[in-house]
Amino acid sequence: MSAQVAGVEESEVRVQEAGYKHLLAIADLEGDDIIRLLDSTRSFAEVSTRSIKKVPALRGRTIVNMFMEPSTRTRMSFELAAKRLSADVINFSPTTSSVSKGESLKDTAKTIVAMGVDAVVIRHKSAGAPKKLTEWLDCSIVNAGDGMHEHPTQALLDLYTMRERMGRLEGLKVAIVGDIDHSRVARSNMLALNKVGASVLLVAPRSLLPEGIEKMGAETTGSLDEALRWCDVLYLLRIQMERVNESRFPSLREYTLEYGLTEQRWESLEKKPLVMHPGPMNRGVEIASSVADEVESVITGQVAAGVAARMAVLYDVLGGSRE
């Protein structure tokens, strides 16, 4: 899972972290940490309802958004979160930068931090890139999605949404449907839900489940209909279209038939679960367009919760003084 960043050797000596706090993975957190972050997410959600949507908590702090992979909503969400906390934000994207001239991640990051920043929010195609940054840089690092490893802030906003909508997390039955093997969202959510006492059922064709997943404590099934009878929350993953042509993937039509939330499936349900999706939805693939319309408010609610959850995370890593 901790694949190396391309072209970088695992360093022998880990540089001592000089009291910087990071958010790298849900796997690093205890259940209590997650609950504490969800509690403070609720407080930060209130800030976004004010007429002046800004508090001075991180005034004078500088945050760099380093998105080395395309992303609109996560980047905007982090940017808004930082701005609502009064931090200064620099956005960095590889197409407009020296990365296109072949600069390594390490050099790029070092250059940025030499300008005096307090935190780097990083999205990178390689698992483990955020962790590498903690060894190289004297500042806080927040993982905004690394390869097929983790996407911790997505899990926090999802758990927040579940708790707000369902009133609890403990004992909640959550089915996650889709390409589990390639999904950092699924991984972070599964880990987080386990830590707070919810039960998780993974729903996917055998070929899209990681090997040995049962050993991680997750139940699996190949039947969406079985999962629908069981779950309180149905979490649909986005089908990444670039993977569809890989041999392990069934055809789209086949996928929709077996694992899509079709209109017929939805209408036949007596007890309808809370339907969630990390967005953007492929209408007609993992979810029928009419069903998507019906459950849209939850999914836009997830987006709004994203800003609050990221405020909670940025405040958690940067708030308070550095001793």
């Binding site: 609720r42 407080s43 800004k54 405040y315 708030g319 308070g320």
Partner: protein, 181 residues
Amino acid sequence: MTFRARARVLDTEDIARIVKRISHEILERNKGSKDLALIGVHTRGVFLAQRLADTIDSIEGNHVDMGSLDVSLYRDDVSMRPAPKVEVTRIDFDLAGKTVVLVDDVLYTGRTTRAAMDAMMDFGRPESVQLAVLVDRGHRELPIRADYVGKNVPTSGNEKVKVSLKEVDGVDMVEIGEEEQ
């Protein structure tokens, strides 16, 4: 760190009398409860504000607006690691034209009050702001004073004032003492 109490400066009855007295003082100063609002500073200020609001309601027979304020995002003296827990701020009435009484348990350096005023101003522009505290322990670092004081308690800098209220601590009292490692 544990708190070692040296003396109890207020007990249950004292606090009940103070709440009653300050309620009357607020009404006297503002000539009634029209356009009056109470805003408590988290955590214990909120419960004191609620008690004052209930008392004023029962004296005047009408309803006084009440809100709560978390000031941790507005502080300039945060030296806690990790960052303090942020409570929910709730001001669901219009501040314009209101006389707001900020309520806190202990007035010390004045920095919490400064932060509370900044936080409140982001919600609107009250007509005027007054300050009510259960205990004023001195040592101000800013030009701030309270309009309503439960009790002045002279302290030294290394002493601690511990306020306990029924709603969170199960008992009403104020003690003075030292923190021990």
